[in-house]
C-alpha cells in the first residue's frame, strides 16, 4: 500500500515538524537525519501515537487520520525491540494475530513460518531474555510482519547492535522486504545503512525534508551543503562564479579556478560553494602546464592506511581536503602534493546552509 504524508505539521515549543512525503507501493524509503531532526516524531505521527496539528496521512489513498493506533494496521519495529518479556518468542510473534482473535493453531502456524523466514526456526519456545540483540531484532521484525500489515515502519532497528551484525541484518531486512513487497519506511541516522538498503532516501533536518531521491542522487547530487555533508564525507571550497561557458562554470576560489557543471540559477558573480567527494580525487605528480583548471596544490597533513584505500588529509592555505585513493602511492605526511578533480565530479551548491 502506498503511504502519503500531506502537509503534516506538528508544533512543539522548541521544534516544528513540517513534512510532505510519498512512499510508493512496495518501496523502501529511508528517513535519514541527525538525532533530534524529527524522524522518530514522523514515525510516531504515522503510527498514530502523536496527533498532528495539521495535514493528512493516507494509506492506499485513504485517510487514516481518524484511526487510533491499533486500527491502523501498521507494523512497527522499535529501536529497543519492545518485545514482551512475559511471552516466549512464538507468542510474541503471534500476539497481533491473537488480538485479531485468530485461532491458536492458525496463529502458531503463521508464527512458525515467520520464524523460519528470519532464520530462528527452533527458537519458538525460548524466553526473550535468552536471546541475543540480533535475535531479538529478528523476532521484532517477525512480530511486526505477522499480521500482514499494510505498512512497515522501522525505527533505527539496528542502532543497538554491533557493526558486523548490523551489515548482515540490514541485507536480511532488505531481502524480506523485497520478498513480501511491503511498503516500508525506515528510520536511521546512519548514512551507510540508508545508502545500502533504500529505494529512496529522504534527508531530514530540523523537522523538514531537505531532499528526497535515490541513494546515488543523494550522494552525487546533494541539493545543499547539509545533505552533502551528512551523506558521506564532503570537500567544500568557497568561491564566486567567474563565467559560464558551454554548460560549465569557471569557479573562482582562493586556490585558483575550478571548472564545474553549471547548476540552475547561477550567474557570474554569485557566491557559491564547490563540493566534491574524497574518492573522486586523483593524485598528480606535477601540474600539467597546458591545463589551468581543477588542480589543487597542498601539503599532506595526515595519512591513514585503511586497507583497500588510503585516506589523505591535504591542507592548502586555509582549506582542508580529504582524499581517498585506491592503490598505495608512496606518500607521507609533510609531502607536497597536487590533486585533480574531474569537472563532472564537481558540484556547485548554494552558499546558504
Amino acid at each position: 500500500m502506498s503511504l502519503r504524508l500531506k502537509n503534516v505539521v506538528k508544533e512543539y515549543p522548541d521544534f516544528k515538524l513540517k513534512i510532505d512525503l510519498q512512499v510508493n507501493k512496495g518501496e523502501l524509503v529511508t528517513i535519514l537525519g541527525p538525532s533530534g531532526c524529527g524522524k522518530t516524531t514522523t514515525l510516531r505521527v504515522i503510527a498514530g501515537f502523536i496527533t498532528p496539528d495539521k495535514g493528512n496521512i493516507f494509506v492506499a489513498d485513504r485517510g487514516i487520520d481518524h484511526l487510533p493506533p491499533h486500527k491502523r494496521q501498521i507494523g512497527i519495529v522499535f529501536q529497543d525491540y519492545a518485545l514482551f518479556p512475559n511471552l516466549n518468542v512464538l507468542d510474541n510473534i503471534a500476539f497481533g494475530l491473537k488480538m485479531q482473535r485468530v485461532k491458536r493453531i492458525l496463529r502458531e502456524a503463521k508464527a512458525r513460518k515467520l520464524l523460519k523466514m528470519v532464520h530462528l526456526k527452533d527458537y519458538g519456545h525460548r524466553k526473550i531474555s535468552q536471546l541475543s540483540g540480533g535475535e531479538q531484532q529478528r523476532v521484532a521484525l517477525a512480530r511486526a510482519l505477522a499480521t500482514e500489515p499494510r505498512l512497515l515502519l522501522l525505527d533505527e532497528p539496528l542502532s543497538a547492535l554491533d557493526a558486523k551484525l548490523r551489515k548482515g541484518l540490514r541485507s536480511e531486512i532488505r531481502r524480506i522486504q523485497r520478498e513480501l513487497a511491503i511498503t516500508t519506511l525506515y528510520i536511521t541516522h546512519d548514512q551507510e545503512e540508508a545508502l545500502a538498503l533504500s529505494d529512496r532516501i529522504a534527508v531530514m533536518r530540523n523537522g523538514k525534508i531537505e531532499q528526497v531521491g535515490r541513494p546515488r542522487e543523494i550522494y552525487d547530487e546533494p541539493v545543499n551543503l547539509f545533505v552533502a555533508g551528512f551523506v558521506g564525507q564532503a570537500n567544500i571550497l568557497k568561491g564566486t562564479v567567474r563565467s559560464i561557458e558551454g554548460g560549465y562554470v569557471f569557479f573562482n576560489t582562493a586556490l585558483g579556478d575550478i571548472r564545474a557543471p553549471a547548476p540552475r540559477g547561477c550567474y557570474p558573480g554569485r557566491e557559491m560553494h564547490l563540493f566534491f567527494r574524497p574518492e573522486n580525487c586523483t593524485i598528480k605528480s606535477r601540474i600539467p602546464s597546458e591545463d589551468k583548471g581543477n588542480y589543487i596544490q597542498g601539503v599532506v597533513a595526515g595519512c591513514e592506511y585503511l586497507g583497500e584505500i588510503i585516506q589523505l588529509e591535504v591542507v592548502s592555505r586555509d582549506s582542508r581536503f580529504i582524499l581517498r585513493l585506491r592503490g598505495c602511492p608512496a606518500i607521507a605526511a609533510g609531502d607536497p602534493v597536487v590533486f585533480s578533480i574531474k569537472a563532472d565530479n564537481c558540484r556547485l551548491l548554494p552558499a546558504t546552509r
Binding site: 487510533p68 493506533p69 491499533h70 507494523g75 512497527i76 522499535f78 514482551f84 500476539f95 488480538m99
Partner: protein
C-alpha cells in the same frame, strides 16, 4: 524524543468513570469518617465551631504530659533504632557474607510482623517471669528477677527499636550501596581516615537516608498502639493513641477523643511531610549512582573493628529471634495449677482446633477478614495505580498522593471515625465484620498502590506502543500485556494487604465485638488475663500465617521499595 500521546475525549471520560469508583469508596470510608472527627473535635455540644476543646487539652497538665511523653518516647525510640540499624546498614551496603540474604529478608519484618507478636515476645522473653530473667536467675542463683524492664519506658523503647531498626537498615543500606566508593578513596588519598572520613565524607551523603528512615520510624513510634498499651501502662506511660482509645472505649467521650486525635494527626502529618520530602531527595540520589562492588566480610574481620561487627550481627540476630522463639516455646507448655510446675503439651492447639470457642472463632475471623481485605484492597489499589500511571491524566501524581493519604492517618483515628460517623446508622457498624474489613482495606490499599504503581512505571512505553500497533485496544492491552507484567506486584500487594489485615490491632480493637474478634485482639485479651500459654499458642499460629505471607513477598518480591 517528544513524549506525548493522543487523548480522545472519550478516553478521558472513561478514565474519569473508572476514577469515580475509588473516589466514592474513599469518600464514604475514609474522608467522611475523618471529617466527623474534625467536626467532633472542633465543635461544642451545640454543634458550633470552637477550638475550646483543643484549648482545654493544651492547658490540661494531664494531656500535655501525654503529648510530651508521646513525642519523647518516639524521639528516643527513633534514636535507638537508628543507632542499632546503622552498623547493619553499613555491613549490608559494603560487604558480602553468608546469610546476608536472610538478614536482608528480615528487614521486611516490621511490615508483616503483627505488633501484638512483638508485645507477646517481649513479655515472654524480657518479662519478670520471662525466659531471660529465668536464665539469669538460674545462672547466678538469685531469687528475684534481676531485670525489671516491663511496664516502663525502657520496655517501650526496646520494643520500638526491635520493631523499627530494620527500617533503618533497609533504607540506609539501599542508598549507601549505591554511593560511589571512589569518593571515599579520594578523601583517603588526601589524608582523611577513621571517624573523620565518616563524618566529613560519608555521613553527608547518607544523611538523606538516615533522616528519611528517622522520620518514618518517628511516625511509626508516634502512632504505635499495642506496644504502648501493654508494655507501658498506667497514666505515666500513655501516648496519644492509647489515650484516644481509652477515651473512646472506656470513657466513651468521643468528642474529647476526636480533639485529641486531631492533635495527634497534626503531629504525625508534619513528619509524614518531612519523610515524603526526604524520600524525593533520595530517589534523585539513586538516579545518579549505580551499584558497586562489595568486599567479602572476611576482609573486615582482619581489622580490629571486625570483632565489633561480628558481635553486632549476633546481637541483632538474637534480638530478632529470641522473642519470637520465646513465643513458640511457651505455646507448647502446660501449667498444672496456679504456680505449679510446667510441662510440655499441645493442649491449647488441641483446644483451638477441636473445640469451638471464641478463640478458635477468632482464627477463622482473621483469615476471613484477610481474604476479604485482599478482595477489596487489590482492585482498589490496582485501579488507582493504573490511573496514576496513565500519562493522559494530568496531575496524576497529585491524584496519587491524595489517594495515599490514608497512610498518614492513624488507624486508631480511623476506627474512632467509623464509630463516630456511623453512630445512629440503621445498620450497626461497630462490631460488624464489614466495618473491620472496610477499615483494613483503607489501611492496606496504599501498600497495594505502592507495590503495583512502581511496577506500572517500570513498563517501557514502547511495549505499550508495540502492542497498540499490533492491534490491541485498551482492554486487550491491559488484559494481555499490562496485567501479566504486573502479576508479581499484584501477588506482593495481595500478600501485604493480607499481612496487614491479619496483624492489625488498632482499628480492630476499636471496632471488633465478641463475634468479630481477631487473632491479635484475642492475644491481647489473653495477655490481659495473664494467660500467656494461650496467647503464645495464638501468637504462634499468627506468626506462622505472617511467615507464609512474608515468604510470598520475599519470593515474588516485586514492586516494594
Amino acid at each position: 524524543m517528544f513524549p506525548e500521546s493522543t487523548l480522545p475525549g472519550r478516553k478521558a471520560l472513561l478514565y474519569l468513570l473508572l476514577l469515580s469508583g475509588p473516589l466514592v469508596f474513599l469518600f464514604f470510608f475514609f474522608y467522611y469518617p475523618l471529617s466527623s472527627i474534625l467536626q467532633g473535635g472542633l465543635t461544642d455540644d451545640q454543634g458550633r465551631f470552637t477550638v475550646s476543646r483543643i484549648g482545654s487539652i493544651l492547658s490540661d497538665p494531664y494531656y500535655t504530659g501525654i503529648i510530651w511523653f508521646t513525642v519523647k518516647q518516639a524521639f528516643l525510640s527513633t534514636l535507638l533504632s537508628i543507632s542499632l540499624g546503622l552498623p547493619g546498614a553499613y555491613l549490608l551496603a559494603k560487604y558480602d557474607f553468608w546469610g546476608k540474604n536472610v538478614i536482608r529478608a528480615l528487614t521486611t519484618i516490621p511490615f508483616v510482623l503483627p505488633s501484638i507478636i512483638v508485645v507477646l515476645g517481649f513479655v515472654r522473653f524480657f518479662g519478670n517471669n520471662g525466659i531471660l530473667n529465668r536464665l539469669l536467675m538460674g545462672l547466678f542463683r538469685v531469687e528475684e528477677p534481676p531485670l525489671r524492664i516491663l511496664y516502663s519506658m525502657k520496655a517501650i523503647l526496646l520494643a520500638h527499636a526491635f520493631y523499627n531498626f530494620p527500617i533503618c537498615i533497609r533504607i540506609v543500606s539501599a542508598l549507601w550501596s549505591r554511593l560511589d566508593p571512589n569518593f571515599e578513596d579520594a578523601a583517603r588519598s588526601m589524608g582523611a581516615h577513621g571517624f573523620r572520613l565518616f563524618r566529613e565524607v560519608t555521613l553527608p551523603r547518607i544523611l538523606p537516608a538516615i533522616l528519611a528512615s528517622s522520620a518514618l520510624i518517628f511516625i511509626f513510634c508516634l502512632l504505635s498502639f499495642a506496644i504502648v498499651l501493654v508494655l507501658g501502662g498506667g497514666p505515666r506511660f500513655t501516648t496519644l493513641e492509647v489515650e484516644v482509645y481509652r477515651l473512646a472505649k472506656v470513657s466513651l467521650d468521643l468528642k474529647m477523643g476526636s480533639a485529641l486525635a486531631l492533635i495527634g494527626s497534626f503531629l504525625s502529618s508534619i513528619f509524614l511531610y518531612l519523610y515524603i520530602r526526604l524520600q524525593r531527595k533520595m530517589s534523585f540520589a539513586e538516579e545518579i549512582t549505580a551499584d558497586f562492588e562489595r568486599k567479602r566480610l572476611s576482609a573486615l574481620l582482619k581489622e580490629p573493628a571486625g570483632i565489633f561487627f561480628v558481635l553486632y550481627l549476633f546481637l541483632i540476630a538474637a534480638l530478632i529471634i529470641a522473642p519470637m522463639a520465646a513465643v513458640v516455646y511457651t505455646s507448647f507448655l502446660k501449667r498444672s495449677g496456679w504456680g505449679g510446675s510446667t510441662a510440655y503439651s499441645l493442649d491449647w492447639y488441641i483446644r483451638l482446633i477441636f473445640t469451638s470457642n471464641l478463640y478458635a472463632r477468632s482464627i477463622l475471623n482473621s483469615l476471613f477478614f484477610g481474604f476479604m481485605t485482599i478482595l477489596f484492597a487489590l482492585p482498589l489499589g490496582t485501579l488507582i495505580a493504573y490511573l496514576g500511571s496513565r500519562r493522559e491524566i494530568k496531575n496524576s501524581s497529585i491524584l496519587e498522593s491524595l489517594m495515599m493519604l490514608p497512610m498518614g492517618v492513624s488507624s486508631i483515628m480511623l476506627g474512632l471515625g467509623y464509630i463516630k460517623a456511623f453512630q445512629g446508622f440503621p445498620v450497626e457498624i461497630t462490631g460488624s465484620w464489614y466495618a473491620i474489613v472496610l477499615a483494613h482495606t483503607v489501611i492496606s490499599y496504599p501498600f497495594v498502590i505502592r507495590s503495583v504503581s512502581s511496577m506500572f512505571r517500570k513498563i517501557k512505553p514502547s511495549l505499550l506502543e508495540a502492542a497498540r500497533s499490533l492491534g490491541a485496544d485498551s482492554w486487550q492491552l491491559f488484559w494481555h500485556l499490562e496485567l501479566p507484567l504486573i502479576k508479581g506486584a499484584l501477588i506482593t500487594g495481595a500478600a501485604f494487604a493480607f499481612a496487614i489485615s491479619i496483624g492489625e490491632i488498632n482499628a480492630t480493637m476499636m471496632l471488633a465485638g465478641p463475634q468479630t474478634m481477631t487473632i491479635p485482639v484475642a492475644i491481647y485479651r489473653l495477655i490481659s488475663s495473664y494467660n500467656f500459654i494461650g496467647a503464645c499458642a495464638m501468637g504462634t499460629i499468627l506468626m506462622a500465617i505472617s511467615f507464609l505471607t512474608f515468604l510470598i513477598i520475599d519470593r515474588v518480591g516485586e514492586g516494594i521499595g
